[in-house]
């Protein structure tokens, strides 16, 4: 019973922080664009409004896919240590986390394929291609860290960086951090790697047929993905944290970097994005790997 | 080799065209529809390479349409209005899409708004209007005000809704 409650609380927390980040992110972007921007709680209002609206479903697969997308990410979250707490105390294995993350996208793909809109289909095929693009450099980075620490447990990797700031992997392996940052940008689907959404090209891609609750679910999925992905980076490179507050602060720093890049870059075409991801971050990551091995 | 406007007028008069001198760099040229294509090819060969656009005027009192080709020369800096008169009851003009590609759309437009046929142009489908069943709208005998009042309940003084 406690375990269920715990899982539930973790989920609520992730959604809350994710939405807060999204709201603040919109405000930050607005300030970069020299405007006032929406209030920081706007994301909460949006989601609340979307769930209050009538929504149009196409078939059962669409419902299932949307739930699967959110569920997959929430499941990932359960294995990510947050300031020393893990929702499910079994394993914090990095490989498992990375595989679980893919479920979210597959769920989205299912929902979208069910809607039958060509824009959405192009969008989701781009999202899956992009996944192919960023996973290779990210796994290379992870491989280096696993070799150094001799473990694939995220918890142990983050604990190994305890103590002073100089112990952080970010300082010890700056190249790996840069490669991971670039991959993270693609993971979150922020510019320049937002080809799957691209309103000017394919009218917001996977989301094109989503209305009301479905769009709300897509919002929540995005919020949880922000939370999970920044949490992984914080654990890998910034040594986790001793309390939740510091942890969220560190996550926010990572998110801010993403937002700044998002605000001043246009988007790559999908083939350019994959080409970029398979050359620059991989190059950096392999260089780091060689440095570690030699 | 830049020619003055007076030289061009002289050249055209020598070839037997009826030329009207309009402004400091504008000439109007009336041609017959049988010769239209040849005349345009000739003009293009002496440097009139830019087709601005094609339009038409409905001279309802004279029972004729006038198709006007606006041609500009970047070398001579002279604008020529090449005019063709056709009978209003049987308006047919040879197409010039082989000379200028963009003429395709101007011809479609003129066909749609005046009902003038362009011989040799196979695609004169309507470009702007959908489901149009009245007479072509830019003809002088089409009353757009009456049309609007009948179809859309337009009110003459803006109404008081």
């Amino acid at each position: 019973m406690m375990a269920v409650l715990r899982v539930f609380l973790f989920g609520i927390f992730a959604i809350f922080i994710g939405l807060l980040f999204m709201g603040i992110g919109r405000k930050v972007i607005a300030r970069i664009q020299l405007r006032y921007g929406p209030p920081f709680y706007q994301a909460f209002l949006d989601v609340g409004k979307l769930f209050a609206r009538k929504s149009i479903t196409h078939n059962f697969v669409m419902d299932l896919g949307m739930v699967m997308a959110l569920g997959g990410l929430l499941a990932t979250m359960l294995f990510v240590p947050i300031a020393g707490h893990v929702a499910v105390k079994t394993s914090t294995n990095l490989i498992v986390i990375m595989y679980l993350m893919a479920i979210g996208y597959l769920g989205m793909a299912m929902a979208v394929a069910a809607s039958g809109n060509p824009n959405a289909t192009i969008g989701v095929s781009r999202a899956l291609t992009m996944m192919l693009g960023y996973e290779v450099p990210f796994f290379t980075v992870i491989l280096g860290l696993i070799i150094v620490n001799g473990t694939s447990s995220l918890e142990l990797i983050s604990q190994s960086q305890a103590g002073s700031i100089l112990n952080w992997n970010m300082i010890k392996f700056p190249l790996a951090f840069i490669a991971a940052e670039i991959a993270l940008q693609a993971m979150m689907g922020e510019k320049p790697f937002d080809a799957m959404i691209a309103p000017a090209e394919i009218a917001s891609g996977p989301m094109v047929e989503l209305s009301g609750k479905y769009l709300g679910l897509a919002f929540l999925t995005h919020a949880v993905s922000i939370f999970v992905e920044t949490a992984i980076i914080v654990n890998l490179f910034m040594g986790g944290a001793s309390n939740i507050f510091t942890f969220v602060l560190k996550q926010f720093e990572i998110y801010l970097i993403t937002i700044f890049i998002e605000a001043v870059f246009p988007r790559f075409k999908i083939e350019q994005a994959v080409k970029f991801l398979w050359t620059v971050p991989i190059g950096i990551a392999v260089l780091q790997l060689l440095l570690i091995l030699l | 080799m830049k020619m003055q406007k007076s030289d061009i007028v002289k050249l055209l008069l020598d070839r037997g065209y009826s030329v009207f001198d309009l402004y400091h760099n504008q000439i109007a040229l009336a041609v017959k529809k049988e010769n239209l294509l040849n005349d345009l090819i000739f003009l293009r060969s002496i440097g009139f390479e830019h087709l601005s656009f094609i339009t038409a005027v409905d001279f309802i009192d004279e029972g004729e349409f006038e198709v006007v080709y606006h041609i500009w020369s970047y070398t001579h800096k002279v604008h020529i209005l090449v005019k063709v008169r056709v009978d209003r009851n049987n308006p047919v003009v040879p197409t010039i899409i082989n000379l200028w590609e963009q003429a395709q759309f101007y011809e479609q437009e003129v066909h749609e708004f005046f009902g003038i046929k362009f011989e040799g142009n196979n695609d004169l489908s309507p470009l702007f209007l959908e489901n149009w069943v009245d007479i072509p709208p830019l003809r002088k005998d089409f009353d757009t005000r009456e049309f609007s009042i009948r179809l859309y309940d337009a009110e003459v003084d803006g109404g008081d809704r």
């Binding site: 706007q42 409004k49 | 757009t144």
Partner: protein, 161 residues
Amino acid sequence: MELPPAMTSRWDVERFGVGPMATPRQADVLLVTGYVSLKTLKRIIRTYEQMPEPKWVLAFGSCTVNGGIYWDSYNTITNLAEYIPVDITVSGCMPRPEAVIDALQTLMKMIQSGEAGAYKKYKENYEYYKANQDRVLKKTVPVLGQTPKNDLEGKDEDAKE
């Protein structure tokens, strides 16, 4: 056309939580910005019917109320409210960005107080709206009673839509 200024840095409607959405499925408010030609009307109706409820319509500019400066045009409708239910209209041609923001805020207040529910009217009076829509979109007889003398050839409707 005054919408971009209203959305961007100077007026920034996003501070009130209003932002553009990419597709009708995601939208709450349909902004009809200005005159509506027949071809557009067809798309507006389709867009409106695609939007999930509750939905609202903001008609923008005089042209949507009584035709504005285009009241006697053959291709623009005069009163949008005859075809889809309109919640709120902004006068002016073009309305200033301030007017747009004011309209959006008024609409928000109306929604909160429950005044804005025109979409219910659309359901209840569907026959009325449908009849009006069909009258202008699916006309088969010439409105002015004159039939085109020379039949327009190649008049193929894009039936696939």
